[in-house]
Symmetry: C2
Subunit: 769 residues, 2 copies
């Protein structure tokens, strides 16, 4: 068995020795350097620009402005394209924008012989603006007369959805009637999440040049094949005219599931005769101009019967989309769907969701894609209800979680396997839940401890909301080893390693005999939409399994030509063996024969597509133990335990590493991270790693990752989503632990010292001055 | 029709603008630099080496000697491997050699932080030799007691072959009896060719590093997949552990059909922890240490009947192999075979060939692979016989050339098409042959003019002497264009362009919609043995046609899913059309649908192998008009006309360019080029482009390339060999023109001023002093 083994990462040695090549390592030097001029207003128009001084600066090759770019609006998110215009992403930006929608919008670009000259030239460009009021919050943007940020959306509402499940109880006609039934416990709540940034180590960077009349772009992306498409759209040229290469990347988390600066980089090279142009985006630009996690507010209501059964809920979510549509309504739609699915309502459910343009830096895809937000609302709410109605919080959850066989009434996604109950019980035992809950009752004094938990469900990939398609190619080497080529991407998560294990498993060879082509070159890599939605081990995994079995069949079929009398041929320990287990020929010798046979020379390879039309739910939970210093508003996380049901684990050690990373992200989301804007100008105040407070190793307890392995019948190897889930339940678990410690329910993130002091003061734990 | 059009080269713009990337352009800097220590003796042993001073030099990373390398002898020539040990190439060198066999043999290597330091370190290495007498000529090497250059061959004879065709006339038992029959004109002659170098613009250069435990080598080669194999053999590691990438290359001509320095470069990186090491071979090293054209001497005899029919010939060829086997006996075997095939003997033929180790720089593959040598002998001989026996030289040839349907008695290669008669007649007419032959009779004075000609036959690829196998891959882009990926290589000959035309022809789309992947990366490129033997348009062409038709079928089959009612689907003008010619869907739309269909998403691609089991003959001739300054021994080429039958031309303009290049090479071979060795030491005296006299543009007349297009039934598009042929007939045509001008038959190459003055003196045209 190659699947299920904790083998070391195939890229481990290169990455720890620094031998691994990232985009910037590959950039030829000297190279032309591009820099972008960003607007100093958040809402308005560029009326005019004077570039004469910049253009005259020695070393400046070209200055290009929003008046020069092609008059093409294009979509940036990394979704599969749709041939149905109704399902296409929103095209709402140009390469450089005259219509300024965020502070720091891209309005001009300089190409120069070196970075300093480019930077200096930017400072010489004079801009005249027409300025409008800054709209940072949905309420401002939706207000009468606010003015349209995009003229296609006069009310600034990018999208609104309203979904009601069928009512399962004939006594009610609407969810609202059930929510108002006095026979039930009734609950209403309001929860809010903040805007945070991915903070991947490697900022977006790319370089581009022209060759053979085509544009070649090397870039740090999660989605090379989609980058190719979007560049074609943005420049208005055939998508086959572009070649995109993706080396190793230093993190993405969804921010590199969007095509932000590659189109500009590609266009710039066409404007300087095809010379190589590098576009390196600074940390500050990454914060201000790339994507982040949507701030979403949730107004929720619930009706729970006396036995603790969830009867009905409603949820109204308002998502702050910032200045550009990015992934559009998909994220808040995912949020309200996830909110509904984890605890199916026995009578019915009503979701409403708004995505609203504002002048904030535009949020987009980020690990969890709306689910960390809704999970905060859902799991705070569960805790608050349990407390209010006198239920044990674990029992209350166990009573209501999604059952095996659940089918979503809208998208049909089915629960093919679930270990959530076991996850909760395992986590509770690991935490010593019952003992600690008892122990932490009735604390007094300034420093108190508490335990909290939260659970979640998460679908695997995007089917049927969107297309799921993946292809793979395998090529036999002359020594019997195999090249594995994919369009799916290694983005630091260990994809290359688990893909290699899957291919080895399907073919029947050791993983060390699979050589994965880590870089994707869209000219030769099979098509795959890329790394997002925790899809690759599932969707790409199915393609690998399919192609692996085809490839294995070709090996066996060639062996059958060589041994026409033999029966029951199979592959075992690098040999073709017959039904008696006798070794007939080594794979190495078989390969040499196939290559060099004078009778039948064939270069064995297999390539195929798997169109995936399945989905399933992964599950998990987080248990947190905290110590709260009430006067300082300081939360110390003492212990953190995640327990996941992601089906069968392809590589348990990598799975645990994946979980650790997500838990770390959750700590920052819970306690310290927040993009802070100047309310007057819309300028980001803390767009750097000094002022933006990511948790450091000092803020981390030991992280415990546990698993409940189910065998999902729809997964290629029994596996389900794991990439995003670990980040989901951490923030509500910590918040619920703080509630357990202090009795104070904090309903917005992050639980920063300032906010906690305010809340503890309101709650009477800190005396009013 | 895409085939047959003179479209511009697909790489033209990049190459003339300097945008095209060659190996050294791609090398990261800074990089570790390797330099090789060459022996200062030509025959002997390295007894000891003192590297202490070199190793102590600051900046030196590692000094490695012939005492450090793996104890593995490996083969260097670029042939397909054979699983039959009897047909494997000779393994007669190590990465660095203790046994020194040529002056300048590779005995140590330095890796340093920069080139100057590496060079300086070389000078600090002290070497003690055991020295043997220098053997430069076959006669010396074969002499009793000469001493073995390779201990496996005590007589220094690498190989000897002796082939007799069946005797077709019962009056004779042997060819020798027919040759001695007084009823026939009898002829005996001796012809010799010299050692020349390819003089490609780009010397061999490579760089290598380790990644993911594997070795990656970027190199200027004609045969990337074979380089991969030979590195594996030389280092004794799995062939799948090596990745070879071939960028654009600055010429090869057969010298880069051998794997000379890549194994050393690959090994050096393993000795410095996988750091990137560059190995740039100087022009001097290229002359001394890489390959060249074999000097071959021919002793020939012929019997011709009174009507001018060729009855019988014998040929004994001795090929000077220099210090290493390289392509071994294959080249002289090809020479005596080609000698036999052009004018099939009516009674019988006897060939004997010897390949002899000496201490010369080792010759190997060079454009024409033995045929320019034998063609000099064959066509001088024809001219000399015509003169001696009173035949018209054209009629004499026309009477005896290979007929349509000829089948070689040994290898079965068949003449499936021939336009040689038409070529000769077309060339004669273009030259004004009859008029000039008349005009140049009976000249006197110091400056005289003459016309001469020569013709040739040339097989296409290496089947059935060796394996011919090729594969191709095509991938549909989202805009309906196609990626074409091959293992066959563009080496400056225009391969990429004609491959693209062939793919377009097979699929039914415009050539501009085919994007060829010019670089070969052995990790992903389909297998093909590479550029040699004028094989690619024929052998790879068959693979392209096969895969193109499969790919086309997949497009049509997907279209049939979309239009189940339609009949007679075909591809026309970028659309799928039905039998009425109605346009159903554009290829661009078909592509988008196939990628993004929610019913059936498939990424259309096709990959397959063609095992080629056919061969055919190409033909042609050269007509030369010269002016000879007798006292100066100076030949001025006034006009040069090549006429070729290479079947159907894929791209007539590129075909003409190919011919021009070959004619230029032929001028140098005829008149000026020769590698001169110091007879005492074996040191090359003129191993640089100043002292080695290549013809310049001043030495060229306008070159005329004409074609007779046959439609070869075995060719994928009616095409046959063209890469090597143009270089073949030029030297004998010029020699025969000098004979026509002066009456002096020069029987060795080159016709240098010194040699001509000697010959004219012997012939009485210059008075003895």
């Amino acid at each position: 068995m190659e699947v299920g083994r904790s083998i070391p990462r195939v890229d481990a040695a290169d990455k720890v020795t620094g031998r691994a090549k990232y985009t910037d390592d590959l950039c030829p030097r000297p190279v032309l350097e591009a820099k972008i001029l960003h607007s100093t207003i958040a809402n308005g128009w560029v009326k005019s620009m004077d570039i004469s001084a910049a253009q005259a600066l020695p070393g400046v090759v070209k200055v290009l402005t929003c008046f020069d770019v092609p008059d093409i609006q294009y979509p940036t998110p990394g979704h599969p394209w749709s041939v149905d215009p109704k399902h296409q992403d929103v095209s709402d930006r140009k390469l450089l924008n005259r219509r300024v929608r965020i502070y720091g919008d891209d309005i001009a670009a300089v190409v120069a012989e070196d970075e300093l000259t480019a930077q200096h030239a930017l400072e010489l460009i004079k801009v005249e603006y027409e300025e409008y009021p800054v709209l940072l919050e949905p309420e401002q943007a939706m207000a009468e007369g606010a003015g349209a940020i995009h003229e296609e959306r006069p009310d600034n509402i990018l999208a609104k959805m309203d979904l009601r499940t069928p009512i399962a109880d004939s006594r009610y006609e609407t969810v609202e009637q059930a929510l108002a039934d006095p026979a039930f416990h009734q609950f209403r709540g309001h929860y809010e999440t903040q805007q945070v940034q991915h903070c991947h180590i490697e900022n977006p960077v790319s370089f581009a040049w022209m060759e053979a009349g085509r544009i070649r772009v090397i870039t740090s992306t999660q989605i090379p094949h989609i980058v190719r498409r979007v560049i074609g759209q943005a420049l208005g040229i055939g998508w086959g005219q572009i070649q995109v290469v993706k080396p190793y990347i230093g993190g993405g988390f969804g921010n590199k599931q969007e095509v932000l600066y590659e189109p500009l980089n590609a266009w710039l090279t066409t404007q300087v005769g095809g010379r190589c142009v590098r576009l390196d985006v600074s940390r500050e630009e990454t914060f201000q101009n790339t994507r982040s996690r949507h701030p979403i507010s949730f107004d929720v209501a619930a009706a729970v019967d006396q036995e603790g059964h969830m009867m009905a809920r409603s949820c109204t979510a308002i998502s702050n989309q910032g200045g550009y549509a990015s992934h559009g309504n998909a994220i808040v739609a995912n949020a309200v769907t996830g909110f509904r699915q984890l605890y199916p309502d026995r009578i019915g459910h009503h979701s409403t969701a708004y995505t609203v343009y504002t002048n904030r830096p535009a949020p987009g895809a980020m690990r969890g894609y709306g689910i960390p937000q809704c999970n905060f609302a859902a799991e705070c709410m569960m805790e608050d209800m349990a407390l209010q109605f006198g239920f044990d919080p674990l029992t209350f959850r166990l009573e209501n979680i999604m059952p095996l066989g659940y089918v979503d009434p809208f998208n049909g996604i089915t629960c093919h396997s679930t270990g959530l109950r076991e996850c909760i019980l395992k986590g509770a035992e690991a935490m010593g839940w019952d003992k600690l809950r008892e122990q932490y009752k009735n604390q007094t004094g300034p420093v108190r401890r508490g335990v909290g938990m939260a659970c979640f469900s998460y679908k695997t990939g995007v089917y049927p909301i969107s297309l799921e398609t993946s292809s793979a190619r395998m090529v036999l080497n002359q020594d019997g080893t195999v090249q594995l080529q994919l369009g799916a991407t290694e983005i630091g998560q260990g994809g290359d390693t688990v893909f290699s294990q899957m291919a080895a498993e399907a073919i029947g060879i050791p993983t060390e005999d699979v050589h994965i082509v880590s870089f994707q070159d869209t000219d030769t890599a099979p098509f795959d939409t890329g790394a997002y939605a925790s899809r690759q081990t599932y969707v790409t995994g199915k393609a690998i399994k399919k192609v692996g079995l085809e490839f294995r069949e070709k090996l066996l079929s060639y062996a059958a030509e060589l041994f026409p009398e033999a029966e029951g041929l199979t592959i075992s320990e690098r040999f073709i063996t017959d039904k008696a287990g006798e070794k007939l020929i080594s794979l190495a010798e078989l390969a040499l024969t196939a290559f060099y046979s004078l009778e039948h020379s064939v270069h064995i390879s297999a390539e195929d597509t798997n169109h995936c039309k399945e989905n399933t739910f992964a599950f998990g939970c987080c248990f947190a133990e905290v110590e709260v210093d009430i006067p300082l508003g300081k939360v110390k996380v003492l212990r953190l335990i995640n327990v996941h049901d992601s089906g069968k684990l392809i590589n348990p050690a990598l799975a645990a590493a994946q979980v650790h990373g997500g838990m770390s992200m959750g700590i920052g989301y819970a306690l310290s991270e927040e993009m802070k804007l100047d309310p007057k100008t819309g300028r980001l105040l803390n767009g750097n790693l000094l002022d933006y407070k990511m948790p450091t190793s000092m803020d981390h307890p030991d992280l415990t990752a546990l698993f409940v392995e189910t065998d999902d019948p729809s997964g290629p190897f029994g596996n389900k989503a794991l990439g995003e889930p670990p980040a989901i339940p951490v923030a509500p678990a910590i918040r619920n632990a703080v509630l357990n410690a202090t009795g104070v329910a904090v309903n917005s993130l992050p639980l920063s010292p300032q906010k906690l002091v305010e809340e503890f003061t309101k709650g009477g734990l800190i005396g009013h001055v």
